[in-house]
Subunit: 319 residues, 2 copies
Protein backbone atom coordinates (compact mmCIF):
# COMPACT_ATOMS: atom_id res chain seq x y z
CA UNK A 1 0.00 0.00 0.00
CA UNK A 2 2.55 2.53 -1.02
CA UNK A 3 4.34 4.41 -3.73
CA UNK A 4 7.98 3.41 -3.57
CA UNK A 5 9.26 5.08 -6.72
CA UNK A 6 8.64 8.69 -7.63
CA UNK A 7 7.45 9.24 -11.19
CA UNK A 8 7.40 12.72 -12.71
CA UNK A 9 5.00 14.22 -15.24
CA UNK A 10 8.05 14.55 -17.48
CA UNK A 11 8.60 10.73 -17.27
CA UNK A 12 4.94 10.11 -18.11
CA UNK A 13 4.76 12.53 -21.01
CA UNK A 14 7.79 10.79 -22.53
CA UNK A 15 6.20 7.36 -21.91
CA UNK A 16 2.84 8.33 -23.44
CA UNK A 17 4.52 9.41 -26.68
CA UNK A 18 5.04 5.70 -27.35
CA UNK A 19 1.29 4.97 -27.05
CA UNK A 20 -1.85 5.83 -28.91
CA UNK A 21 -3.96 6.57 -25.81
CA UNK A 22 -3.86 10.39 -25.78
CA UNK A 23 -1.95 12.93 -23.72
CA UNK A 24 -1.70 13.05 -19.94
CA UNK A 25 -4.49 14.88 -18.13
CA UNK A 26 -3.87 13.78 -14.51
CA UNK A 27 -1.88 11.31 -12.43
CA UNK A 28 -1.78 10.33 -8.77
CA UNK A 29 0.24 7.83 -6.82
CA UNK A 30 -2.23 5.31 -5.38
CA UNK A 31 -2.15 3.01 -2.38
CA UNK A 32 -2.88 -0.30 -4.11
CA UNK A 33 -0.89 -3.53 -4.08
CA UNK A 34 1.83 -4.21 -1.55
CA UNK A 35 4.70 -5.20 -3.83
CA UNK A 36 4.77 -2.48 -6.48
CA UNK A 37 4.30 1.25 -7.05
CA UNK A 38 1.02 2.17 -8.70
CA UNK A 39 -0.15 5.36 -10.36
CA UNK A 40 -3.58 6.28 -11.58
CA UNK A 41 -3.07 7.76 -15.02
CA UNK A 42 -5.74 9.79 -16.82
CA UNK A 43 -5.28 10.56 -20.50
CA UNK A 44 -7.49 12.20 -23.09
CA UNK A 45 -8.88 8.72 -23.90
CA UNK A 46 -9.48 7.00 -20.53
CA UNK A 47 -8.06 6.12 -17.15
CA UNK A 48 -5.27 3.60 -16.68
CA UNK A 49 -3.05 2.16 -13.98
CA UNK A 50 0.72 2.45 -14.36
CA UNK A 51 2.57 -0.20 -12.33
CA UNK A 52 6.28 0.01 -11.58
CA UNK A 53 7.69 -3.35 -10.58
CA UNK A 54 9.81 -3.08 -7.47
CA UNK A 55 12.53 -5.46 -6.37
CA UNK A 56 10.24 -8.10 -4.85
CA UNK A 57 8.93 -8.97 -8.32
CA UNK A 58 11.30 -11.06 -10.46
CA UNK A 59 11.60 -9.40 -13.88
CA UNK A 60 11.76 -12.84 -15.51
CA UNK A 61 8.19 -13.48 -14.29
CA UNK A 62 6.69 -10.40 -15.95
CA UNK A 63 5.94 -12.08 -19.31
CA UNK A 64 3.96 -14.70 -17.36
CA UNK A 65 1.98 -12.13 -15.30
CA UNK A 66 1.30 -9.68 -18.13
CA UNK A 67 0.68 -12.45 -20.68
CA UNK A 68 -1.81 -14.08 -18.31
CA UNK A 69 -3.70 -10.82 -17.77
CA UNK A 70 -4.03 -10.30 -21.52
CA UNK A 71 -5.01 -13.95 -22.07
CA UNK A 72 -7.74 -13.74 -19.42
CA UNK A 73 -8.98 -10.31 -20.58
CA UNK A 74 -9.27 -11.73 -24.12
CA UNK A 75 -11.52 -14.46 -22.69
CA UNK A 76 -13.75 -11.91 -20.99
CA UNK A 77 -12.55 -12.22 -17.39
CA UNK A 78 -12.87 -8.77 -15.76
CA UNK A 79 -9.18 -8.10 -15.12
CA UNK A 80 -6.79 -5.31 -16.05
CA UNK A 81 -5.67 -5.58 -19.66
CA UNK A 82 -2.05 -4.61 -20.40
CA UNK A 83 -2.00 -1.83 -22.97
CA UNK A 84 0.36 -2.31 -25.95
CA UNK A 85 2.43 0.62 -27.19
CA UNK A 86 2.71 1.57 -30.88
CA UNK A 87 5.38 -1.11 -31.32
CA UNK A 88 3.18 -3.78 -29.71
CA UNK A 89 5.16 -3.86 -26.47
CA UNK A 90 3.67 -4.04 -22.99
CA UNK A 91 6.79 -3.91 -20.84
CA UNK A 92 8.45 -0.49 -20.46
CA UNK A 93 11.12 1.14 -18.32
CA UNK A 94 9.96 4.08 -16.16
CA UNK A 95 12.15 5.73 -13.53
CA UNK A 96 14.62 2.85 -13.97
CA UNK A 97 11.99 0.23 -13.13
CA UNK A 98 10.21 -2.29 -15.37
CA UNK A 99 6.69 -0.93 -15.81
CA UNK A 100 3.39 -1.53 -17.60
CA UNK A 101 0.20 0.39 -18.29
CA UNK A 102 -3.02 -1.58 -17.74
CA UNK A 103 -6.67 -0.62 -18.09
CA UNK A 104 -8.52 0.88 -15.12
CA UNK A 105 -11.33 -1.22 -13.60
CA UNK A 106 -14.40 0.22 -11.92
CA UNK A 107 -15.44 -1.06 -8.53
CA UNK A 108 -13.95 -1.23 -5.06
CA UNK A 109 -12.86 -3.87 -2.63
CA UNK A 110 -15.03 -4.57 0.39
CA UNK A 111 -14.01 -5.22 3.97
CA UNK A 112 -16.93 -7.28 5.27
CA UNK A 113 -17.99 -9.80 2.63
CA UNK A 114 -21.46 -11.30 2.82
CA UNK A 115 -22.28 -14.86 1.68
CA UNK A 116 -23.47 -13.33 -1.61
CA UNK A 117 -20.02 -11.79 -2.10
CA UNK A 118 -18.42 -15.17 -1.30
CA UNK A 119 -20.57 -16.96 -3.86
CA UNK A 120 -19.60 -14.38 -6.48
CA UNK A 121 -15.91 -14.84 -5.62
CA UNK A 122 -16.23 -18.61 -5.92
CA UNK A 123 -17.79 -18.24 -9.36
CA UNK A 124 -15.09 -15.81 -10.48
CA UNK A 125 -12.34 -18.13 -9.27
CA UNK A 126 -13.93 -21.00 -11.23
CA UNK A 127 -14.07 -18.74 -14.28
CA UNK A 128 -10.43 -17.77 -13.76
CA UNK A 129 -9.41 -21.46 -13.69
CA UNK A 130 -11.41 -22.26 -16.82
CA UNK A 131 -10.36 -19.15 -18.73
CA UNK A 132 -6.68 -19.74 -17.96
CA UNK A 133 -6.76 -23.21 -19.59
CA UNK A 134 -4.39 -23.31 -22.52
CA UNK A 135 -2.21 -20.40 -21.34
CA UNK A 136 1.21 -21.38 -22.66
CA UNK A 137 3.73 -19.96 -20.18
CA UNK A 138 4.35 -21.85 -16.95
CA UNK A 139 5.44 -20.55 -13.55
CA UNK A 140 6.02 -22.99 -10.68
CA UNK A 141 4.61 -22.02 -7.27
CA UNK A 142 7.56 -20.84 -5.18
CA UNK A 143 5.31 -20.73 -2.13
CA UNK A 144 4.32 -24.39 -1.87
CA UNK A 145 5.94 -27.18 0.22
CA UNK A 146 9.55 -26.43 -0.81
CA UNK A 147 9.08 -22.69 -0.40
CA UNK A 148 7.52 -23.14 3.04
CA UNK A 149 10.56 -25.17 4.11
CA UNK A 150 12.86 -22.36 2.94
CA UNK A 151 10.78 -19.77 4.81
CA UNK A 152 10.80 -21.88 8.01
CA UNK A 153 14.58 -22.22 7.78
CA UNK A 154 14.96 -18.47 7.18
CA UNK A 155 12.74 -17.65 10.17
CA UNK A 156 14.55 -20.22 12.30
CA UNK A 157 14.41 -19.80 16.07
CA UNK A 158 12.67 -16.42 15.74
CA UNK A 159 9.26 -18.13 15.56
CA UNK A 160 9.62 -18.90 19.27
CA UNK A 161 10.43 -15.25 19.92
CA UNK A 162 7.12 -14.39 18.31
CA UNK A 163 5.27 -16.96 20.40
CA UNK A 164 6.64 -19.64 22.71
CA UNK A 165 6.21 -23.12 21.22
CA UNK A 166 5.41 -21.82 17.71
CA UNK A 167 8.50 -23.43 16.16
CA UNK A 168 7.39 -26.90 17.18
CA UNK A 169 3.84 -26.26 15.92
CA UNK A 170 5.18 -25.19 12.54
CA UNK A 171 7.37 -28.29 12.27
CA UNK A 172 4.43 -30.56 13.12
CA UNK A 173 2.13 -28.83 10.65
CA UNK A 174 4.78 -29.02 7.96
CA UNK A 175 5.49 -32.71 8.57
CA UNK A 176 1.74 -33.48 8.34
CA UNK A 177 1.45 -31.56 5.08
CA UNK A 178 4.56 -33.11 3.56
CA UNK A 179 3.08 -36.56 4.28
CA UNK A 180 -0.50 -35.83 3.18
CA UNK A 181 -0.11 -33.28 0.36
CA UNK A 182 -2.21 -34.60 -2.55
CA UNK A 183 -0.86 -35.40 -5.98
CA UNK A 184 -2.72 -36.04 -9.19
CA UNK A 185 -5.45 -33.45 -8.58
CA UNK A 186 -6.49 -31.16 -11.46
CA UNK A 187 -3.84 -28.48 -11.89
CA UNK A 188 -3.54 -25.26 -13.87
CA UNK A 189 -2.96 -21.57 -13.44
CA UNK A 190 -4.06 -20.28 -10.01
CA UNK A 191 -4.37 -16.69 -8.76
CA UNK A 192 -2.90 -17.68 -5.39
CA UNK A 193 -3.73 -14.36 -3.66
CA UNK A 194 -7.44 -13.72 -4.23
CA UNK A 195 -8.00 -11.82 -1.00
CA UNK A 196 -10.81 -9.25 -0.58
CA UNK A 197 -8.44 -6.39 -1.44
CA UNK A 198 -7.84 -7.98 -4.85
CA UNK A 199 -11.50 -8.26 -5.82
CA UNK A 200 -13.56 -5.25 -6.93
CA UNK A 201 -17.33 -5.20 -6.54
CA UNK A 202 -20.13 -2.96 -7.73
CA UNK A 203 -22.87 -3.96 -5.31
CA UNK A 204 -22.87 -7.77 -5.20
CA UNK A 205 -21.48 -8.07 -8.73
CA UNK A 206 -17.76 -8.58 -9.29
CA UNK A 207 -16.33 -5.88 -11.54
CA UNK A 208 -12.67 -6.86 -11.39
CA UNK A 209 -9.96 -9.23 -10.21
CA UNK A 210 -6.58 -7.58 -9.75
CA UNK A 211 -3.00 -8.19 -8.58
CA UNK A 212 -1.87 -11.25 -10.52
CA UNK A 213 1.67 -11.14 -9.14
CA UNK A 214 1.47 -14.37 -7.17
CA UNK A 215 -0.22 -16.32 -9.99
CA UNK A 216 1.47 -19.63 -10.82
CA UNK A 217 0.81 -23.25 -11.76
CA UNK A 218 -0.52 -25.43 -8.97
CA UNK A 219 -3.52 -27.49 -7.87
CA UNK A 220 -6.76 -25.67 -8.67
CA UNK A 221 -8.38 -26.73 -5.40
CA UNK A 222 -5.47 -25.15 -3.49
CA UNK A 223 -6.56 -21.76 -4.90
CA UNK A 224 -10.04 -22.41 -3.51
CA UNK A 225 -8.48 -23.33 -0.15
CA UNK A 226 -6.68 -19.94 -0.16
CA UNK A 227 -10.01 -18.19 -0.80
CA UNK A 228 -11.63 -20.16 2.00
CA UNK A 229 -8.98 -18.80 4.36
CA UNK A 230 -9.28 -15.27 2.99
CA UNK A 231 -13.08 -14.92 2.72
CA UNK A 232 -14.78 -17.29 5.18
CA UNK A 233 -13.52 -16.21 8.60
CA UNK A 234 -14.96 -13.41 10.69
CA UNK A 235 -12.94 -10.53 12.13
CA UNK A 236 -12.68 -12.50 15.41
CA UNK A 237 -11.19 -15.34 13.27
CA UNK A 238 -14.25 -17.62 13.75
CA UNK A 239 -14.99 -19.80 10.73
CA UNK A 240 -18.26 -18.92 8.97
CA UNK A 241 -19.61 -22.09 7.35
CA UNK A 242 -22.38 -20.17 5.54
CA UNK A 243 -19.76 -18.17 3.69
CA UNK A 244 -17.71 -21.31 2.90
CA UNK A 245 -20.83 -23.04 1.58
CA UNK A 246 -21.54 -20.02 -0.63
CA UNK A 247 -17.95 -19.87 -1.88
CA UNK A 248 -17.95 -23.59 -2.77
CA UNK A 249 -21.39 -23.33 -4.35
CA UNK A 250 -20.28 -20.45 -6.56
CA UNK A 251 -17.11 -22.27 -7.56
CA UNK A 252 -18.62 -25.67 -8.32
CA UNK A 253 -21.42 -24.09 -10.36
CA UNK A 254 -18.72 -22.97 -12.80
CA UNK A 255 -16.16 -25.74 -12.38
CA UNK A 256 -17.41 -28.97 -10.75
CA UNK A 257 -14.86 -30.51 -8.34
CA UNK A 258 -13.70 -34.13 -8.39
CA UNK A 259 -14.16 -36.39 -5.36
CA UNK A 260 -10.43 -36.42 -4.51
CA UNK A 261 -10.34 -32.60 -4.71
CA UNK A 262 -13.16 -32.31 -2.18
CA UNK A 263 -11.53 -34.88 0.11
CA UNK A 264 -8.25 -32.99 -0.02
CA UNK A 265 -9.78 -29.65 1.05
CA UNK A 266 -8.85 -29.83 4.77
CA UNK A 267 -5.23 -30.62 3.90
CA UNK A 268 -5.10 -27.91 1.21
CA UNK A 269 -6.65 -25.41 3.62
CA UNK A 270 -3.99 -26.22 6.23
CA UNK A 271 -1.36 -25.64 3.57
CA UNK A 272 -2.89 -22.31 2.59
CA UNK A 273 -3.03 -21.21 6.23
CA UNK A 274 0.59 -22.26 6.78
CA UNK A 275 1.67 -20.36 3.64
CA UNK A 276 0.24 -17.04 4.88
CA UNK A 277 1.34 -17.71 8.46
CA UNK A 278 4.93 -18.18 7.27
CA UNK A 279 5.10 -15.14 4.99
CA UNK A 280 3.52 -12.96 7.66
CA UNK A 281 5.94 -14.30 10.25
CA UNK A 282 8.89 -13.73 7.94
CA UNK A 283 7.73 -10.18 7.16
CA UNK A 284 7.13 -9.57 10.87
CA UNK A 285 10.83 -9.92 11.54
CA UNK A 286 12.09 -8.43 8.28
CA UNK A 287 9.85 -5.33 8.11
CA UNK A 288 10.69 -2.37 10.36
CA UNK A 289 7.73 -1.38 12.51
CA UNK A 290 7.56 2.08 10.97
CA UNK A 291 7.91 0.95 7.33
CA UNK A 292 5.56 1.97 4.52
CA UNK A 293 3.95 -1.46 4.56
CA UNK A 294 1.82 -2.31 7.55
CA UNK A 295 2.82 -5.66 9.08
CA UNK A 296 -0.02 -8.19 9.16
CA UNK A 297 -0.56 -10.25 12.30
CA UNK A 298 0.70 -13.85 11.93
CA UNK A 299 -1.61 -14.93 14.80
CA UNK A 300 -4.62 -14.66 12.50
CA UNK A 301 -3.22 -17.46 10.32
CA UNK A 302 -2.03 -19.53 13.25
CA UNK A 303 -5.63 -19.61 14.45
CA UNK A 304 -6.87 -20.51 10.97
CA UNK A 305 -4.26 -23.27 10.69
CA UNK A 306 -5.37 -24.72 14.01
CA UNK A 307 -8.99 -24.58 12.87
CA UNK A 308 -8.26 -26.53 9.69
CA UNK A 309 -6.20 -29.06 11.67
CA UNK A 310 -9.33 -29.72 13.74
CA UNK A 311 -11.47 -30.37 10.64
CA UNK A 312 -12.14 -34.10 10.16
CA UNK A 313 -13.67 -33.97 6.66
CA UNK A 314 -14.60 -31.55 3.88
CA UNK A 315 -18.20 -31.83 4.98
CA UNK A 316 -17.38 -29.44 7.82
CA UNK A 317 -16.76 -26.76 5.17
CA UNK A 318 -20.38 -27.12 4.08
CA UNK A 319 -19.76 -29.13 0.90
CA UNK B 1 2.26 11.80 0.71
CA UNK B 2 0.38 9.07 2.44
CA UNK B 3 -2.88 7.56 3.53
CA UNK B 4 -2.97 7.62 7.32
CA UNK B 5 -6.55 6.57 7.92
CA UNK B 6 -8.16 3.54 6.37
CA UNK B 7 -11.58 4.19 4.85
CA UNK B 8 -13.83 1.31 3.82
CA UNK B 9 -16.31 1.08 0.96
CA UNK B 10 -18.92 0.64 3.68
CA UNK B 11 -17.93 4.06 5.17
CA UNK B 12 -18.14 5.69 1.74
CA UNK B 13 -21.47 4.18 0.76
CA UNK B 14 -22.91 5.52 4.02
CA UNK B 15 -21.35 8.94 3.39
CA UNK B 16 -22.61 9.19 -0.19
CA UNK B 17 -26.19 8.60 0.92
CA UNK B 18 -26.08 12.14 2.31
CA UNK B 19 -25.15 13.59 -1.09
CA UNK B 20 -26.74 13.98 -4.47
CA UNK B 21 -23.65 12.97 -6.48
CA UNK B 22 -24.49 9.35 -7.35
CA UNK B 23 -23.32 6.01 -5.99
CA UNK B 24 -19.73 4.89 -5.51
CA UNK B 25 -18.05 3.34 -8.55
CA UNK B 26 -14.38 3.33 -7.43
CA UNK B 27 -12.05 4.68 -4.77
CA UNK B 28 -8.31 4.66 -4.20
CA UNK B 29 -6.12 6.06 -1.48
CA UNK B 30 -3.85 8.64 -3.14
CA UNK B 31 -0.44 10.01 -2.28
CA UNK B 32 -1.28 13.72 -2.27
CA UNK B 33 -0.75 16.31 0.44
CA UNK B 34 1.48 15.68 3.41
CA UNK B 35 -0.84 16.54 6.27
CA UNK B 36 -4.03 14.64 5.49
CA UNK B 37 -5.38 11.38 4.08
CA UNK B 38 -6.76 11.70 0.57
CA UNK B 39 -8.93 9.38 -1.47
CA UNK B 40 -9.89 9.60 -5.08
CA UNK B 41 -13.61 8.95 -5.19
CA UNK B 42 -15.47 8.09 -8.40
CA UNK B 43 -19.27 8.19 -8.41
CA UNK B 44 -21.87 7.81 -11.12
CA UNK B 45 -21.67 11.59 -11.62
CA UNK B 46 -17.97 12.51 -11.56
CA UNK B 47 -14.66 12.16 -9.74
CA UNK B 48 -13.99 13.78 -6.37
CA UNK B 49 -11.33 13.95 -3.70
CA UNK B 50 -12.24 12.94 -0.15
CA UNK B 51 -9.92 14.47 2.42
CA UNK B 52 -9.72 13.24 6.00
CA UNK B 53 -8.16 15.84 8.28
CA UNK B 54 -5.47 14.32 10.46
CA UNK B 55 -4.22 15.64 13.74
CA UNK B 56 -1.86 18.26 12.30
CA UNK B 57 -4.84 20.25 11.04
CA UNK B 58 -6.74 22.22 13.70
CA UNK B 59 -10.45 21.44 13.35
CA UNK B 60 -11.25 25.04 14.25
CA UNK B 61 -9.49 26.17 11.07
CA UNK B 62 -11.61 24.03 8.72
CA UNK B 63 -14.38 26.62 8.21
CA UNK B 64 -11.64 29.05 7.09
CA UNK B 65 -10.00 26.56 4.66
CA UNK B 66 -13.20 25.14 3.20
CA UNK B 67 -14.94 28.52 3.12
CA UNK B 68 -11.97 30.02 1.30
CA UNK B 69 -11.96 27.26 -1.33
CA UNK B 70 -15.65 27.79 -2.01
CA UNK B 71 -15.21 31.59 -2.07
CA UNK B 72 -12.37 31.34 -4.58
CA UNK B 73 -14.12 28.69 -6.70
CA UNK B 74 -17.17 30.99 -6.87
CA UNK B 75 -14.88 33.70 -8.27
CA UNK B 76 -13.57 31.39 -10.96
CA UNK B 77 -10.16 30.50 -9.48
CA UNK B 78 -9.34 26.91 -10.54
CA UNK B 79 -9.32 25.28 -7.12
CA UNK B 80 -11.17 22.34 -5.56
CA UNK B 81 -14.74 23.26 -4.65
CA UNK B 82 -16.13 21.71 -1.46
CA UNK B 83 -19.26 19.72 -2.28
CA UNK B 84 -22.31 20.39 -0.09
CA UNK B 85 -24.44 17.50 1.10
CA UNK B 86 -28.24 17.45 0.87
CA UNK B 87 -28.40 19.46 4.10
CA UNK B 88 -25.97 22.07 2.76
CA UNK B 89 -23.07 20.89 4.91
CA UNK B 90 -19.49 20.53 3.75
CA UNK B 91 -17.84 19.16 6.87
CA UNK B 92 -18.44 15.46 7.64
CA UNK B 93 -17.07 12.78 9.95
CA UNK B 94 -15.52 9.73 8.22
CA UNK B 95 -13.63 7.02 10.11
CA UNK B 96 -13.71 9.27 13.18
CA UNK B 97 -11.97 12.13 11.34
CA UNK B 98 -13.34 15.47 10.13
CA UNK B 99 -13.63 15.10 6.36
CA UNK B 100 -14.81 16.87 3.22
CA UNK B 101 -15.51 15.97 -0.39
CA UNK B 102 -14.13 18.41 -2.97
CA UNK B 103 -14.22 18.42 -6.76
CA UNK B 104 -11.44 16.70 -8.74
CA UNK B 105 -9.18 18.92 -10.82
CA UNK B 106 -7.51 17.83 -14.03
CA UNK B 107 -3.80 18.39 -14.49
CA UNK B 108 -0.61 17.34 -12.79
CA UNK B 109 2.22 18.97 -10.91
CA UNK B 110 5.56 19.36 -12.64
CA UNK B 111 9.04 18.85 -11.26
CA UNK B 112 11.13 21.12 -13.49
CA UNK B 113 9.28 24.39 -14.03
CA UNK B 114 10.26 26.55 -17.01
CA UNK B 115 10.09 30.38 -16.96
CA UNK B 116 6.69 30.04 -18.71
CA UNK B 117 5.43 27.93 -15.80
CA UNK B 118 6.79 30.52 -13.34
CA UNK B 119 5.02 33.36 -15.14
CA UNK B 120 1.76 31.38 -15.03
CA UNK B 121 2.22 30.74 -11.29
CA UNK B 122 2.85 34.43 -10.67
CA UNK B 123 -0.35 35.33 -12.50
CA UNK B 124 -2.34 32.69 -10.57
CA UNK B 125 -0.98 33.94 -7.26
CA UNK B 126 -2.01 37.49 -8.20
CA UNK B 127 -5.46 36.17 -9.11
CA UNK B 128 -5.65 34.31 -5.79
CA UNK B 129 -4.85 37.52 -3.88
CA UNK B 130 -7.43 39.53 -5.84
CA UNK B 131 -10.13 36.85 -5.71
CA UNK B 132 -9.71 36.36 -1.96
CA UNK B 133 -10.46 40.06 -1.27
CA UNK B 134 -13.57 40.34 0.85
CA UNK B 135 -13.38 36.82 2.31
CA UNK B 136 -14.85 37.31 5.76
CA UNK B 137 -13.11 34.77 7.99
CA UNK B 138 -9.63 35.58 9.28
CA UNK B 139 -6.79 33.24 10.24
CA UNK B 140 -3.53 34.65 11.59
CA UNK B 141 -0.30 33.21 10.23
CA UNK B 142 1.07 30.87 12.89
CA UNK B 143 4.28 30.51 10.90
CA UNK B 144 5.48 34.11 10.91
CA UNK B 145 7.96 35.82 13.30
CA UNK B 146 6.33 34.57 16.52
CA UNK B 147 5.93 31.05 15.15
CA UNK B 148 9.54 30.95 14.00
CA UNK B 149 10.67 31.91 17.50
CA UNK B 150 8.59 29.04 18.94
CA UNK B 151 10.06 26.59 16.42
CA UNK B 152 13.62 27.74 17.18
CA UNK B 153 13.01 27.24 20.87
CA UNK B 154 11.52 23.78 20.25
CA UNK B 155 14.50 22.76 18.10
CA UNK B 156 16.92 24.22 20.66
CA UNK B 157 20.47 22.90 20.65
CA UNK B 158 19.59 20.21 18.10
CA UNK B 159 20.23 22.65 15.22
CA UNK B 160 23.95 22.34 16.02
CA UNK B 161 23.63 18.56 15.91
CA UNK B 162 22.30 18.91 12.39
CA UNK B 163 25.14 21.23 11.37
CA UNK B 164 27.82 22.84 13.54
CA UNK B 165 27.22 26.58 13.92
CA UNK B 166 23.66 26.45 12.58
CA UNK B 167 22.14 27.62 15.87
CA UNK B 168 24.08 30.88 15.74
CA UNK B 169 23.17 31.42 12.07
CA UNK B 170 19.49 30.98 12.87
CA UNK B 171 19.67 33.47 15.76
CA UNK B 172 21.37 36.06 13.54
CA UNK B 173 18.89 35.59 10.74
CA UNK B 174 16.00 35.85 13.17
CA UNK B 175 17.36 39.01 14.81
CA UNK B 176 17.78 40.64 11.38
CA UNK B 177 14.24 39.75 10.40
CA UNK B 178 12.74 40.87 13.68
CA UNK B 179 14.41 44.26 13.18
CA UNK B 180 13.65 44.66 9.47
CA UNK B 181 10.28 42.93 9.03
CA UNK B 182 8.04 45.38 7.15
CA UNK B 183 4.72 46.68 8.40
CA UNK B 184 2.03 48.54 6.57
CA UNK B 185 2.36 46.57 3.31
CA UNK B 186 -0.81 45.39 1.55
CA UNK B 187 -2.18 42.38 3.40
CA UNK B 188 -4.88 39.79 2.75
CA UNK B 189 -5.39 36.07 2.40
CA UNK B 190 -2.25 34.25 1.24
CA UNK B 191 -1.84 30.64 0.10
CA UNK B 192 1.46 30.37 2.01
CA UNK B 193 2.48 27.02 0.47
CA UNK B 194 2.23 27.40 -3.30
CA UNK B 195 4.99 24.91 -4.11
CA UNK B 196 5.16 23.04 -7.46
CA UNK B 197 3.37 20.03 -5.95
CA UNK B 198 0.37 22.26 -5.18
CA UNK B 199 -0.05 23.60 -8.71
CA UNK B 200 -1.53 21.52 -11.54
CA UNK B 201 -0.70 22.23 -15.16
CA UNK B 202 -2.01 21.05 -18.50
CA UNK B 203 0.90 22.00 -20.73
CA UNK B 204 1.89 25.57 -19.77
CA UNK B 205 -1.63 26.43 -18.60
CA UNK B 206 -2.52 26.22 -14.91
CA UNK B 207 -5.51 23.91 -14.34
CA UNK B 208 -5.60 23.96 -10.56
CA UNK B 209 -4.24 25.27 -7.28
CA UNK B 210 -4.60 22.85 -4.39
CA UNK B 211 -3.79 22.30 -0.71
CA UNK B 212 -5.09 25.41 1.02
CA UNK B 213 -4.24 24.14 4.50
CA UNK B 214 -1.57 26.72 5.26
CA UNK B 215 -3.63 29.65 3.93
CA UNK B 216 -3.88 32.59 6.35
CA UNK B 217 -3.87 36.37 6.57
CA UNK B 218 -0.50 38.00 6.02
CA UNK B 219 1.42 40.35 3.73
CA UNK B 220 0.62 39.58 0.09
CA UNK B 221 4.23 40.12 -1.00
CA UNK B 222 5.35 37.49 1.53
CA UNK B 223 3.35 34.91 -0.47
CA UNK B 224 5.27 35.97 -3.57
CA UNK B 225 8.53 35.61 -1.62
CA UNK B 226 7.51 32.03 -0.74
CA UNK B 227 6.90 31.31 -4.43
CA UNK B 228 10.27 32.81 -5.32
CA UNK B 229 11.89 30.33 -2.95
CA UNK B 230 9.79 27.44 -4.22
CA UNK B 231 9.94 28.05 -8.00
CA UNK B 232 13.06 30.04 -8.86
CA UNK B 233 15.96 27.87 -7.72
CA UNK B 234 17.52 25.03 -9.69
CA UNK B 235 17.98 21.50 -8.37
CA UNK B 236 21.57 22.46 -7.43
CA UNK B 237 19.97 25.33 -5.39
CA UNK B 238 21.34 28.03 -7.74
CA UNK B 239 19.01 31.04 -8.09
CA UNK B 240 17.54 31.41 -11.60
CA UNK B 241 16.88 35.11 -12.19
CA UNK B 242 15.06 34.39 -15.48
CA UNK B 243 12.46 32.40 -13.56
CA UNK B 244 12.18 35.08 -10.85
CA UNK B 245 11.70 37.75 -13.50
CA UNK B 246 8.96 35.64 -15.10
CA UNK B 247 7.26 34.99 -11.74
CA UNK B 248 7.26 38.70 -10.86
CA UNK B 249 6.11 39.66 -14.36
CA UNK B 250 3.17 37.25 -14.16
CA UNK B 251 2.23 38.49 -10.70
CA UNK B 252 2.47 42.23 -11.34
CA UNK B 253 0.48 41.90 -14.57
CA UNK B 254 -2.48 40.86 -12.42
CA UNK B 255 -1.73 42.77 -9.22
CA UNK B 256 0.74 45.66 -9.49
CA UNK B 257 3.09 45.91 -6.49
CA UNK B 258 3.75 49.06 -4.48
CA UNK B 259 7.26 50.51 -4.15
CA UNK B 260 7.61 49.48 -0.49
CA UNK B 261 6.51 45.92 -1.38
CA UNK B 262 9.25 45.65 -4.01
CA UNK B 263 11.84 47.09 -1.63
CA UNK B 264 10.88 44.61 1.06
CA UNK B 265 11.33 41.54 -1.19
CA UNK B 266 14.84 40.56 -0.01
CA UNK B 267 13.73 40.70 3.61
CA UNK B 268 10.49 38.80 2.89
CA UNK B 269 12.42 36.19 0.92
CA UNK B 270 14.80 35.68 3.86
CA UNK B 271 11.76 35.20 6.09
CA UNK B 272 10.24 32.67 3.71
CA UNK B 273 13.52 30.74 3.53
CA UNK B 274 13.83 30.76 7.33
CA UNK B 275 10.22 29.53 7.68
CA UNK B 276 10.84 26.42 5.54
CA UNK B 277 14.31 25.88 7.00
CA UNK B 278 12.81 25.81 10.50
CA UNK B 279 9.88 23.49 9.74
CA UNK B 280 12.16 21.13 7.85
CA UNK B 281 14.66 21.16 10.69
CA UNK B 282 11.93 20.54 13.25
CA UNK B 283 10.50 17.67 11.16
CA UNK B 284 14.01 16.30 10.67
CA UNK B 285 14.27 15.61 14.39
CA UNK B 286 10.62 14.75 15.00
CA UNK B 287 10.02 12.39 12.04
CA UNK B 288 11.42 8.85 12.25
CA UNK B 289 13.66 8.06 9.26
CA UNK B 290 11.39 5.25 8.13
CA UNK B 291 8.09 7.14 8.54
CA UNK B 292 5.42 7.43 5.85
CA UNK B 293 6.45 11.01 5.15
CA UNK B 294 9.81 11.53 3.49
CA UNK B 295 11.93 14.05 5.40
CA UNK B 296 12.94 17.06 3.32
CA UNK B 297 16.51 18.32 3.53
CA UNK B 298 16.84 21.51 5.63
CA UNK B 299 20.14 22.33 3.85
CA UNK B 300 18.24 23.36 0.75
CA UNK B 301 16.63 26.23 2.66
CA UNK B 302 19.78 27.16 4.53
CA UNK B 303 21.41 27.76 1.14
CA UNK B 304 18.40 29.77 -0.05
CA UNK B 305 18.46 31.84 3.16
CA UNK B 306 22.14 32.60 2.65
CA UNK B 307 21.46 33.58 -0.94
CA UNK B 308 18.74 36.05 0.05
CA UNK B 309 20.98 37.45 2.81
CA UNK B 310 23.51 38.28 0.09
CA UNK B 311 20.95 40.17 -2.01
CA UNK B 312 21.44 43.95 -1.77
CA UNK B 313 18.22 45.06 -3.48
CA UNK B 314 15.08 43.71 -5.18
CA UNK B 315 16.68 44.52 -8.53
CA UNK B 316 18.75 41.36 -8.15
CA UNK B 317 15.50 39.38 -8.40
CA UNK B 318 14.98 40.82 -11.88
CA UNK B 319 12.33 43.40 -10.99
Amino acid sequence: MAVYTDVTAEDLNALLERYDIGGLTAFKGIAEGVENSNYLLATQSAQYILTLYEKRVDEGDLPFFLGLMEYLADRGLPCPRPVRDLGGHVLQMVAERPAAIVTFLQGYSIRKPTPAHCEAVGASLGQFHRDAEGFAIRRPNGLSLKGWRLLMDAIGARSDLFKAGLGRKLEHAYADLERAWPSGLPAGVIHADLFPNNVFFLGNRISGLIDFYFACNDLLAYDLAICMNAWCFEIDHAFNVTKAKALLKGYTAVRPMTGPEIEALPCLAQGAALRFLLTRLYDWFETPETALVKRLDPNEYLRKLEFHQSVRSAGEYGI
